[in-house]
Amino acid sequence: MQPLIEIRNASKVYGSGSAAVHAVREANLEVAPGEVLLMMGPSGSGKTTLLSMMGAILRATSGSIKLLGQEIVGMKESRLPDIRRNNIGFIFQGFNLFPALTARENVEEALKLKGFSRAKARDEAARLLDQVGLGDRAGHHPADLSGGQKQRVAIARALAGDPKILLADEPTAALDSTSGYTVMEILSTLARDHGRAVVIVTHDSRVLDYGTRQVHIEDGRLAEPVLTEGALA
């Protein structure tokens, strides 16, 4: 099966000469549809940098990164927003919801970015919030939602436009166990039942069972991928 994410010898170097910092070194990685890849490693190991490179936010210094078969290293800066908008959904540790907007408006904003009309965005936002079990909280502002509910709104927002890739940075770090499991269940389902590639940066050992694969990163180097129990089940 064609991987949705293909990374070949990708590196990210900040600065140059003796002051150069190698945030990511010669990374090689593939993520196939239906996979939930857990990316683990100590703080400062390069996890978020690699996630940003996969998300077409940070440009690799060298190597190759293909998203849905499309090379993004060397792509013109002005085209990267289109790649992100059309192919990737982001889920953040701090939720990053717009506090001035209701849950529905948060999702609508993402849909409007993707070209939905106001009316269609409204209907689709309602459907996506239903999908994450928050149909009844659509009119609430983030400040009126629990951490788990906020993260589910963030997932609904990330699903706007039906992206094939979901990138999540510590999605359960700010959640209690129950909310964390709920979020992971949703992400697993989105990968398994909808053929999406889900990459999760995490320190949270509670989520290990939900991954189909783990990779470890340390000092910018990826260790050999290993199968998790979740993947074997």
Binding site: G55, I57, F98
Partner: protein, 374 residues
């Protein structure tokens, strides 16, 4: 209008209040300082601006209208012979003393004009008429100076240069830049108060025939009458304004005040809008991660700035109009002409958009790690 721009502004009422307070403060400061400056300019040259004359003939080299020097009146006839001249009238403006009810003296400026031509005469009459000045020793003064000069009503008799004078009318808003109020009277009466020698005048005011070219007539008058200086009305007004503006501490202070008002206003608005934008920097970073083009982020930020500017302007201009109207009763007027009302709106929009553009770079070059980290 984007939902995000609108809701970002109105969601946090306290932040909105702080933002608008900053903008309103800055705009009111600019309105007051520039209004004072415009008031200063108008007050220094109002006698010239409202004179109704097209050209002024004066002794050569006078620095401003309040420093005229005597010259021979018979030059009037030579001026009348120049093509394009319709009328030439005498005009005197001179400092003399007014006796206050207390017995003390107060300096005033007597403006003596020709009652038939009316050039150099009073405007904005609120009581009495210019025709009343045909009576001997009659004067018109501005209501602003009633208290200062100890006058309450028409018909009162006062003393100027040890001669009696009778108040026959009042004007409104004819201020003097100096501490000496203008007192209007006929040229003939002014000769009694100012001791102008018979056959002399301080100025000759020229009215042109319809269609005559002021510059051509000015040149012709200069050739026909040696030993005088001929100025257009605008030139005399500018000369007077420039003298008081650049040659006196008050003028330079007012000019600097207007300049500093603008600088402080711009800085306050820039800081206010910049802070308001940077407060949302994480949200703009999130939008960018979601695939928003920079142009979309620019739009949201600029819409927020335009909304803030419009709301701040609406409040500021109301305050400005109130202050301007309140100042009409005082000696220091704050002018707020329509051009300034429009200009301040454009300035508000420009300042807010410029300040938001400063913060746009920060929003569009945001470190992605900031977006990903809680």
């Amino acid at each position: 209008m984007s939902t995000l721009a609108w809701k970002n502004l109105f969601h946090d009422k306290i932040r909105l209040f702080v933002t608008l307070t900053g903008i309103v403060f800055a705009l009111v400061l600019i309105i007051v300082q520039f209004g004072l400056f415009l008031g200063f300019l108008e007050t220094t040259a109002n006698v010239v601006v409202y004179s109704g004359a097209d050209l002024w003939i004066s002794a050569p080299g006078i620095p401003h209208v309040n420093a005229g020097a005597p010259m021979l009146e018979k030059r009037r006839y030579k001026a009348l012979s120049v093509a394009g001249v319709e009328r030439v009238d005498r005009f005197a403006l001179n400092f003399v003393n007014w006796r206050l009810p207390s017995g003390a003296e107060q300096a005033i400026q007597v403006a003596g004009f020709d009652l038939n031509g009316r050039m150099g005469g009073p405007w904005n009459l609120i009581e009495g008429s210019v025709e009343d000045l045909r009576g001997e020793d009659t004067i018109i003064l501005d209501e602003l100076y009633k208290q200062k000069l100890g006058v309450e009503r028409v018909g009162e008799t006062v003393e100027i240069s040890n001669r009696r004078a009778r108040v026959v009318g009042f004007t409104s808003g004819i201020r003097s830049f100096t501490t000496s109020p203008y007192i209007y009277t006929s040229f003939k009466n002014s000769q009694n108060y100012t001791q102008i020698a018979s056959g002399e005048t301080y100025f000759l005011l020229v009215r042109l025939q319809p269609g005559a070219d002021p510059q051509a007539v000015k040149a012709a008058l200069g050739e026909a009458i040696p030993g005088v200086e001929v100025s257009t009305n605008d030139e005399m007004a500018k000369r007077t304004q420039n003298y008081w503006l650049f040659s006196t501490g008050a003028g330079i202070t007012t000019l600097l005040g207007a300049f500093l008002g603008l600088v402080v206003g711009v800085v306050v608005v820039a800081q206010t809008i910049y802070s308001a934008t940077v407060d949302h920097i994480r949200e703009f970073g999130t939008l960018k991660a979601m695939g928003a083009r920079n142009s979309y982020i620019y739009r949201v930020i600029i819409e927020q700035a335009l909304l803030s500017a419009t709301m701040g302007y609406a409040v500021a201009i109301c305050i400005g109009i109130f202050i301007s109207r309140s100042s009409a009763a005082g000696e220091a007027v704050i002018l707020l002409p329509n051009e300034m009302i429009g200009g301040v709106f454009l300035l508000a929009l420009g300042m807010c958009v410029a300040a938001s553009i400063l913060s746009i770079r920060k929003a569009t070059t945001i470190d992605p790690a900031m977006v990903f980290k809680g």
